[in-house]
Amino acid sequence: MGDMTAALSTAVELIVSLDPHLAEIVGLSLYVSLTAVIISTLIGVPLGAAVSMLRFPGRKSAIIALNALMGLPPVVVGLVVYLALSRSGPLGVFGLLYTPTAMIIAQIILVTPIIAALSRQVITDLWSEYDDQLTSLGSSHSRAIPTLIFDGRFSLLTAVLAGFGRATAEVGAVMMVGGNIDHVTRVMTTAIALEVSKGDLALALALGIILLSISLAIGAAAQIFKDRSELRNSS
């Protein structure tokens, strides 16, 4: 219990004092995860919608693959990205290993299947409501995709948030490809892992509390935004 109270007071202290080192770590976490999630959204939502709406050979397998990829172990992704970006790997010439870019790449690989699989479900559900009407108006399946994405935007936001949660909570992959370098690639989760390995459990827990608070704040902001807009457009 001593650790718990110490963690809480440390967390409050760090936040109140606006610790610059902490701010840098939080900023980098947000930069990496938000960039990854935005790119994953741009890929995942149309991908999920296409798998939902278009009929092509191998579609069933694609759905199964998307669902399975949602559970990709981060360490495996980290390893694959590491091997690809390593100087001895195929993309080694770009020198991306141990940079925020490498972490973004790893998170995109982790997050895109989540957003795509959840988007597919959202679009499929919406299509069952819209099918007759849009077909009657003369829309093809492919033409319906942008309409469904636009009309499903609030439900899709939930899929994006799920992806964001995965990105910010993940440690194995970013540790491997980022290297947890102080001031360069140290993010919330790798900082927590580091403090645990130093035996400073109170500080680790404090960072964990801050990470949780940030996730909560972003989730709440998105929810409020969603509720307000839905109210305006009804549902």
Binding site: Y31, I38, S86, R87, Y98, I181, G199, L201
Partner: protein, 268 residues
């Protein structure tokens, strides 16, 4: 989405610059040096003098060597002499320099159920643990400390892996291993630097130290540009030269944690 995008944009403006800092080298090193706080203490001095930023990736010695072999680091800074010499011999490294040393210790529960504290040397200490089947947590991660620990069992002519489940291989870094030892009241081999810096010590203490066998020398090696042409040879060599210079050695000697000196210069 627009909100998220703008946050990301601001964040990228604030932090995008970090990745493009002018001159930097990447050093593959071990958790023992990083976690003790040594680098936090001495690297700013080097950077202040030369303007070269040092980026440390702290992993186990085994993994650090593999990273350097892959060309993912400019400088290797680890503590397992045999592997270091092999690294140079195979042509991955230019030359090994002695930098510093500290020593290994055996830590264990304060109650000392295996009676390690009364043993005269490390061989006897391990034998006591072996006989008592007292819990022992091994790094199990092919790190320098792990390699050394296996060597010590061999010297004692004991095979802990073959004799029951008191010998646990964590497959984790030094700190995580110490956390496990703390959690299960087990013995473990640790480097002194990590131990002193470690904060979660409740119920653990040093049960054996000071044997000659337990010296822990660190070496530093520049990755050979003949293998990996992109290696920042000039900058890396500058770093090594500084480490073994009088100034660098003084900085290492001056690093103290809780009033204790952790590393002893060995370059001269």
């Amino acid at each position: 989405m627009r909100i998220l995008a703008s946050i990301a944009l601001v964040a990228s403006l604030m932090f995008g610059g970090v990745a493009n800092a002018s001159d930097f080298i990447t050093v593959a090193s071990t958790t023992s040096t990083a976690n003790s706080g040594l680098f936090d203490d001495i690297l700013p001095k080097f950077t202040a003098k030369t303007g070269i930023e040092v980026r440390v990736v702290a992993v186990g010695t085994g993994q650090a060597i593999r990273q350097a072999q892959n060309g993912d680091a400019d400088v290797l800074f680890v503590h397992h002499r045999k592997s270091e010499e092999k690294f140079v011999k195979l042509g991955y490294g230019v030359k090994r320099y002695d930098v510093m040393m500290n020593d290994f210790i055996i830590i264990g529960p304060t109650a000392d159920p295996a009676g390690v504290q009364s043993t005269p040397n490390v061989t006897e200490a391990l034998a006591a643990i072996y006989k008592g089947k007292a819990n022992f947590v091994s790094r199990g991660d092919d790190s320098g400390t792990h390699k050394r620990e296996r060597g010590l069992w061999e010297e004692a002519k004991l095979d802990p892996r073959a004799s029951g489940n008191w010998y646990r291989e964590a497959g984790a870094g030094m700190g995580a291993t110490l956390n496990m030892a703390q959690g299960m009241g087990a013995y473990a081999l640790s480097d002194r630097g990590t131990w002193i810096a470690f904060k979660n010590k409740q119920g653990l203490t040093i049960v054996h130290e000071g044997s000659k066998h337990l010296a822990n020398p660190y070496g530093v090696i520049l990755v050979d540009e003949k293998r990996h042409p992109h290696v920042k040879t000039a900058l890396g060599q500058k770093f090594i030269d500084w480490l073994v210079s009088k100034e660098g050695q003084t900085a290492i000697a001056a690093f103290k944690l809780k009033g204790e000196q952790l590393f002893f210069p060995t370059a001269h």
